[in-house]
């Protein structure tokens, strides 16, 4: 297994290199020069040149040991992302500061969605073919068809503003549970459709298995069969879904954070895109790529833990 892990970790290098190359090309070759945005109005040519020198944009893009891309790789390898050009704050500080608020939103949202969707999936799989099952599937499809932004606007207007059940937005006097409650609820509601349908399909595959019929024949209760046996055997697809979602928790939720004023990494990302702050976008993409590759590996390792038939020889 150790050899497998080492091999997989080595695969990380070309993958992350590819991601960095693509983002670098997108923001340095395709998008325009942002020097004027930094220089302000009526900036002289010499000021622009000085800015370009300060940020290393006067160097060749590739094909040199001192090129922008090589320097970008070197800095990323040491997590020295430099300062954001839009506000001159160290990027690593931004990322550290944003991780907490993002996780305070995404972790409860993720866990809530997981618990509710798996529980409901087990139930609807158990009553498959009934009116209840059909209604749930229809609601799921409808939920998947509604844009995420509509969930946000609807929730914010009715649950926050109109009915006053939740704060409509972050406010300094509020505690974290108070101001994340509504976005978490919205996130769960919006994510339920897709997740519930996926887990229902997984559970249906399992529920039709011989061992389930055997368990019922032996006289086990439905609760014991579903939660003890079916759930355990359905773990492979669940693990795939769950573990691969974890990296995205660190990256936050772009829309929810912006609409509810949660100063997390999603908000940071959307702001950086708006400001063409390539350094910030690149740093976030780099971290996202590493997390994704690492959690992919963890998923594979978890397979062997829940299913002894899987080995890495």
């Amino acid at each position: 297994m150790t050899a497998y892990i080492i091999r997989r970790l080595l695969y990380t290098i070309p993958i992350v290199f590819g991601v960095m190359l693509v983002t670098f090309v997108l923001f340095n070759v395709v998008q325009g020069d942002v020097t004027d945005l930094i220089a302000g109005k009526a900036a002289s040519v010499e000021t622009r040149e000085e800015i370009r020198a300060e940020y290393g944009w006067d160097k060749p893009l590739f094909l040199s040991w001192d090129s922008q891309f090589v320097n970008h790789l070197k800095n990323s390898a040491t997590f020295n992302f430099g300062r954001s050009w839009s506000d001159r704050e160290p990027i690593i500080e931004k990322i550290k500061r944003g991780a907490g608020p993002s996780l305070s939103l995404t972790v409860p949202m993720f866990l809530g969605t997981l618990v509710v969707s798996i529980s409901l999936a087990l139930l609807v799989a158990f009553v498959r073919g009934t009116i209840g099952d059909v209604v749930v599937v229809l609601v799921c499809v409808a939920g998947m068809s509604i844009p995420f932004l509509s969930f946000i606007l609807f929730g914010q207007y009715f649950l926050g503003f109109k009915w006053g059940l939740f704060p409509v937005y972050f406010w300094p006097d509020l505690s974290t549970p108070q101001y994340v409650a509504l976005p978490v609820l919205i996130g769960i509601a919006a994510g339920l459709g897709g997740n519930l349908r996926f887990y229902r399909t997984v559970m249906l595959d399992e529920i039709r298995s011989d061992y389930v019929r055997t368990a019922f024949a032996k006289g086990l209760t439905a609760r014991r069969v579903l939660f003890k046996h079916v759930l355990k055997n359905a773990m492979i697809p669940i693990i795939t879904q769950v573990v691969l979602a974890i990296p995205f928790l660190f990256l936050g939720s772009l829309l929810l954070e912006r609409f509810f004023g949660i100063p997390g990494l999603g908000y940071l990302m959307i702001d950086a895109i708006g400001a063409r702050d390539f350094q910030v976008i690149s740093a976030m993409t780099y971290i996202g790529a590493i997390l994704f590759v690492v959690f992919n590996l963890i998923t594979d390792v978890c397979y062997s833990l829940v299913d002894p038939r899987i080995t890495f020889d």
Partner: protein, 598 residues
């Protein structure tokens, strides 16, 4: 089931663990709450270039001069200066006495943490710092080629490897401090507008101790002489300012415009300011939550989002019953802004074809544009000097040879074809923005051009590309605008001065020797009837040459709750929170009012 138990327990523990709530304020404190729509980039005045950062930093930092809060037309009065400057006869030497007894706010950058007294040298340091090319300030344009020796100082900074190694003690003829309370500025050429620039936030006094102590993190640690000091800046979330206990005795103005008594703006005359203990500003970048927060009474004032305009303002242009029921007041005031479709006068097709430019000017339906894209929050522009400026020419409307007239546009297009020597090629309009509104604007222009018989292609692009296109003179027609930095029309006239052609601020690359002569003469004249006359002549020359389709002048709509007082609109002033007054009892009763409405 154990799995779910673990998940739920983890959820509860996680959320509880994330509790970073802040204590609520002392109930006796007077607090003003506001929302800002763009991120604060930094609180270092020397490098501030955006309005949000300026709005915050101007509560903390002060300049030599400030605008009188109430008087109109806008009038400068001393802020950290003792009096208005003494100007030598040749207009080159400005001697300014600095107020005594002004102290920087207490901060650990000072010895013993106690703020020291302000000196004339603090201005010299701040301005030399802007000149330091390694500092990369956005605000060098303020001093560029204006003060004797400052450009040479900038040259010197090019020879230094790092910004921190710059020797700020180098003596300079243009900026002298005979004593700690006297500042002498020697100009290269007369510049009457310099007093306005000395009221501009980037010229605020900076303590060298703070810059040395905090280094690059000075953007997070503003240390000023102003009425408030920074308590919390949760980046990307909110800012909290508290009253600076060491702020000198300053009082609410006792004089104002004639209608100020009636409007209640003089009710607090002579009272010591600031009248507010705490300022809380929350970043809200999306319109819906900002609107909800305002209607809930969480924030004291708000603009009107485009999508909520009909909810707030009725067909007659007054507040709707829903707003009146909430005791919300409406303020409508002019912006010192002008927006236009600019022509690149160096373009082969447009530059030599005045009938073509005039045809385009006649083809654009300005009123329709204002209605569609600003909810009627604008006035049709006939020239470039906004009506708010005292130099505005009321006769420009009748003088302007072009207005929306599709028939005339078609006639002019025929004339333009003769000038061009055949059928006109397809024109290209560059628009900054790729969103839905930009596309709608593009469609609007396409229709206007088509009606005149012109073929137009819309080129949508992001802002940096758009700027590069203009700076490199490769845009043919472009949509842009200008908001005045100070209440002097010279600020608009410089946009048409031939020596300011791209990459300078003259994006039109417009050149007219007669205009240049008038500009060169008027821009160094002190304010007078003769100068106003020259400004107006210059504007008419430009309007006649038609290097742009002047579209509109902005009009702002602001809603305010009835518990905030002294909220007089000001087109140029920043740092006005010190004048505000809050009636906390009225604010508290708003919740009752809302319950009644529900």
């Amino acid at each position: 089931m154990r799995f779910f138990g673990v998940v739920i327990a983890a959820l509860v523990v996680f959320i509880a663990g994330c509790d970073n709530s802040r204590p609520t304020s002392d109930s006796n404190e007077v607090v003003t709450y506001s929302a800002y729509a763009a991120k604060v980039r930094g609180l270092d005045p020397g490098d501030i270039g955006d309005t949000t950062s300026s709005a915050v930093a101007s509560q903390i930092f002060e300049c030599l001069y400030q605008y009188h809060y109430l008087k109109r037309p806008y009038e400068l009065i001393p802020q950290l200066a003792e009096d208005m400057p003494q100007v030598s006869e040749d207009g080159l030497r400005y001697t300014i006495k600095i107020k005594k007894g002004v102290y920087f706010a207490d901060d650990r950058c000072f010895e013993g943490g106690k703020g020291r007294e302000l000196k004339a040298g603090d201005f010299v340091f701040a301005w030399k710092r802007i000149a330091n090319i390694k500092y990369l300030s956005k605000n060098w344009w303020i001093f560029d080629n204006r003060i004797v020796g400052l450009d040479e100082f900038r040259e010197y900074t090019k020879t230094v490897k790092k910004g921190e190694e710059v020797d700020y003690s180098r003596v300079m003829e243009g900026l002298q401090t005979p004593d700690d309370n006297t500042l002498v500025i020697n100009l290269k050429k007369p510049l009457p507008q310099i007093v306005y620039l000395l009221a501009h936030l980037p010229t605020a006094a900076i303590a060298k101790e703070a810059v040395d102590y905090y280094g690059k993190d000075i953007i997070n640690h503003p240390v000023g002489t102003g009425p408030f000091k920074l308590k919390v800046w949760h980046r990307g979330s909110y800012i909290e300012l508290v009253k600076n206990p060491g702020f000198r005795a300053e009082y609410y103005p006792s004089q104002g415009a004639p209608s100020d008594v009636e409007k209640g703006y003089l009710a607090d005359a002579g009272k010591r300011i600031p009248m507010i203990d705490r300022v809380l500003m929350v970043l809200v970048q999306e319109d819906p939550p900002r609107w909800f927060l305002f209607l809930q009474g969480k924030i004291d004032a708000s603009g009107i989002p485009k999508d909520n305009f009909n909810e707030a303002i009725d067909q007659k242009g007054v507040l709707t019953a829903e707003m009146r029921e909430r005791n919300i007041n409406l303020l409508v005031f002019r912006d010192p802004s002008t927006y236009w479709l600019g022509f690149n006068m160096e373009d082969e097709v447009l530059g030599r074809n005045k009938p073509l430019r005039q045809a385009i000017s006649s083809a654009v339906d300005r009123e329709k544009y204002i209605h569609l894209f600003t909810n009627d929050r604008g006035e049709v522009a006939y020239g470039f000097i906004p009506p708010l400026m005292k130099d505005y020419d009321p006769g420009i409307r009748d003088f302007a040879p072009t207005g929306y007239d599709p028939e005339k546009a078609r006639r002019l297009v025929k004339e333009a074809e003769k000038v061009h020597g055949g059928k006109l090629p397809r024109l290209t309009l560059s628009l900054a923005g790729t969103d839905a509104v930009a596309r709608q604007q593009g469609d609007f222009y396409k229709r206007c051009f088509r009606e005149a018989g012109l073929d137009i292609e819309i080129d949508y692009m992001d802002w940096p590309t758009f700027q590069n296109r203009i700076k490199s003179k490769s845009a043919q027609i472009f949509q842009l605008g200008w908001i005045a930095d100070y209440p002097d029309a010279e600020n608009f006239l410089q946009l048409f001065y031939s020596k300011n052609a791209s990459p300078g601020p003259n994006n039109f690359n417009y050149s007219n020797p007669e205009f240049d002569r008038i500009y060169e003469r008027a821009s160094i004249m002190p304010d007078s009837a003769e100068r106003i006359e020259l400004y107006r002549r210059a504007e008419r020359i430009v309007v006649e040459d038609c290097p742009a389709v002047f579209l509109l002048h902005g009009v702002a709509y602001v809603l305010q709750h009835d518990w905030i007082f002294n909220y007089k609109p000001h087109a140029f002033g920043y740092g006005l929170t010190k004048y505000r007054r809050i009636d906390s009892v009225r604010r508290s009763s708003y919740k009752e009012l809302l319950r009644g409405i529900k």
